[in-house]
């Protein structure tokens, strides 16, 4: 994982170089790990942060997470809502396992329903002093340090006059600063527009501006976040994909700018003595292996031969299956005599089956990385990378495989990628989605019709940092695994 220093360039890196934190600007962690990395520690304390984005882009959840984190860290907070009902927010939070009512009872959180009577009649000018008076009262009662003003645009909408809107917002800003509150304001934007043009001045007013959005490409939605500005602090300047799951917002900062791959480990058996000989000892731990071939060439079988052998040695395998369910894999592998069920039972083999088109790259990646962290496998099998194109596009598949590979290499995990080729032009295809240059070992399987029967052949096309046979080797799939003969 990248460190804050790598993610946020400039200011933060410079400031931490001397081992000193920023003087004057202290930060309030949001509690969203990836976001704190991007923000170089958190939101600016005692200042106003603006979060804008379209409907359903995650503004409220992000704000709520900050409040929950604050409440847990001894910083009570207030959520002022101009659009949603407090009861609905409580209920939605509950479905994520966040018990707001309990925090409210303990005076760590206050939900303030500030929806305006839609039938109220407006006659003449007014100010937002009423709400500020009520807030002052609550802030004192809670000793609140954080405040979220959700959908501030709904309040501003009351004014039919842009000048008045602006004036009241500046007044609100001053009021927040006077009280030393760390504040978040959320504002809706229209569809693809990044900045809410009507409220563009908000971007200038706030000290930190975060934009969140949700885009759909090739029918798959991806959420992204970008920090537009952060006065007095360095920050990650890229667009960061994130997902919202039952725990809230999860951001996977894209890449560290430094390759931190671990050197390859020792060789381990491929599970088949003949293949070990061809590979001069087996697969190297912590490297990447591509098994390519046409349908029925024996790719999955070859990977499962290794899987079984590794699991029996006590090494854990994470098998990411984009083609079939765990049950179907288990049953199919019974034919070549590879019993996987007992390995699944003991937990040494973990098979995760995903429909590639069910989620975007980010979500797939999030699940994979969660398992890398949680299960700490020694090896990962991806069956098959050709199916990953269905995550959206070839580019999406490339991103997924590349980032998964990086994550594995940083952890010294062996990565076995299976790629199905169509067989027309194998040399062109074996690499699979342009990742061949970062693959350490390539094994190609092919089937040739010889003398009225199919002959299976295997060749090692490349094996970085290791000797290997350069010949085609015939092999058979028997009911006891793979049988690899001499060249």
């Amino acid at each position: 994982m990248a460190t804050a220093k790598q993610i946020s360039e400039g200011g933060v890196a410079a400031s931490t170089r001397k081992g000193k934190a920023w003087k004057g600007l202290s930060k309030v962690p949001t509690g969203i790990a990836g976001l704190d990395l991007v923000l170089g520690g958190g939101l600016p304390a005692g200042r106003v942060t603006l979060i804008h984005g379209g409907a359903g882009s995650g503004k409220t959840i992000m704000s709520l997470q900050c409040l929950l984190h604050g409440a847990g860290a001894g910083k009570p907070g207030i959520l002022l809502m101009f659009e949603e009902r407090a009861a609905a927010v409580r209920q939605n939070a509950w479905s994520r396992g966040w018990d707001l009512a309990r925090l409210e009872k303990k005076n760590k959180l206050y939900l303030m329903d500030a929806r305006l009577d839609p039938e109220a009649v407006i006659s003449g000018d007014f100010s937002i002093k009423g709400i500020l008076a009520v807030l002052d009262d609550r802030i004192k009662a809670l000793r609140a340090k954080l405040i979220v003003i959700d959908a501030v645009d709904a309040l501003l909408h009351l004014y039919d006059n842009p000048m008045r809107e602006r004036h009241e917002l500046y007044a609100l800003h001053e009021w927040l600063l006077d009280r030393g509150l760390t504040a978040i304001m959320t504002v809706k934007t229209v569809s693809q527009q990044e900045s809410p043009s009507r409220y563009a001045f908000l971007d200038f007013m706030a000290d930190c501006v975060i934009h969140v959005d949700q885009r759909v490409t090739a029918q798959i939605a991806t959420r992204r976040l970008r920090v537009i500005k952060y006065r007095g602090s360095g920050y990650g300047r890229n667009e960061y994909p994130f997902i919202i799951d039952e725990n809230g917002i999860n951001i996977i900062p894209i890449t560290s700018n430094v390759l931190q791959h671990r050197p390859p480990g020792p060789k381990v058996s491929s599970g088949q003595a003949g293949l070990d000989e061809v590979l001069a000892g087996g697969y190297k731990c912590g490297t990447s292996i591509l098994i390519a071939g046409t349908a029925g060439a024996g790719k999955t079988t070859l990977a499962c031969v290794f899987t079984r052998a590794a699991c029996l040695r006590g090494e854990r395998i994470l098998y990411l299956n984009f083609e079939e369910s765990a049950e179907s894999l288990v049953s199919n592998m019974l034919s070549p005599g590879l019993a996987l069920q007992p390995l699944i039972k003991t937990g040494t083999l973990v098979v995760r089956s995903y429909l590639p088109e069910a989620m975007g790259v980010e979500e797939h990646l999030f699940h994979a990385l969660k398992d890398l962290e949680g299960l700490r496998p020694q090896h990962v099998v991806v069956d098959a990378i050709s199916a990953c194109k269905r995550m959206g596009s070839e580019q999406a598949a490339f991103e997924y495989l590349m980032r998964l590979l990086n994550a594995c290499k940083e952890r010294g995990i062996t990565c076995i990628y299976i790629n199905q080729t169509s067989g027309l032009d194998i040399a062109q295809e074996i690499s699979g989605i342009g990742i061949s240059s970062i693959i350490d070992t390539i094994i190609l399987l092919r089937q040739l019709p010889i003398g009225g029967a199919i002959t299976r052949q295997l060749i090692v096309m490349k094996s970085r940092g290791s000797k290997h046979s350069e010949q085609f080797h015939e092999f058979r799939i028997t009911d006891r695994g793979i049988d690899l003969g001499k060249a």
Binding site: D113, A114, E119, A120, I122, S123, D125, F126, K129, V134
Partner: protein
């Protein structure tokens, strides 16, 4: 409540006040003062002797503002007769106020 001032129409109606208003203001800010004046003028002209105004200063009684869902000042609530009506602003637009309070057509 300390912060509330009661202002009654000069000739008290023995049958009770038929119009009850609650006016939320923020100290003596200009919009609030204007609203006070405008409301008093409208009442004197249209419902003289039949009204009661409870003025609430939100700076002194935030709880009352909260309870009545008052977000901006000034806010006028017509408590009686029902249905309840909420008006925002300094009440400068007399015709609009009269219409909202259902007083239009009431002699003049």
């Amino acid at each position: 409540m300390k912060a509330r001032k009661r202002q009654r129409g000069k000739s008290a109606n023995p049958g009770g006040d038929s119009y009850v208003f609650r006016l939320f203001v923020a100290g003596n800010e200009s919009n609030s003062s204007q609203a006070r004046g405008n409301l008093a003028r409208i009442c004197e002209k249209h419902i003289k002797g039949r009204y009661k105004i409870d003025a609430v200063d939100v700076l002194k009684d935030a709880a009352a503002a909260h309870k009545n869902n008052v977000l901006v000042t000034p806010t006028l609530i017509l408590v009686r007769p029902l249905p309840r009506v909420m008006l925002l602003g300094n009440l400068n637009d007399t015709r609009r106020v009269l219409a909202a309070l259902r007083l239009i057509g009431d002699k003049g």
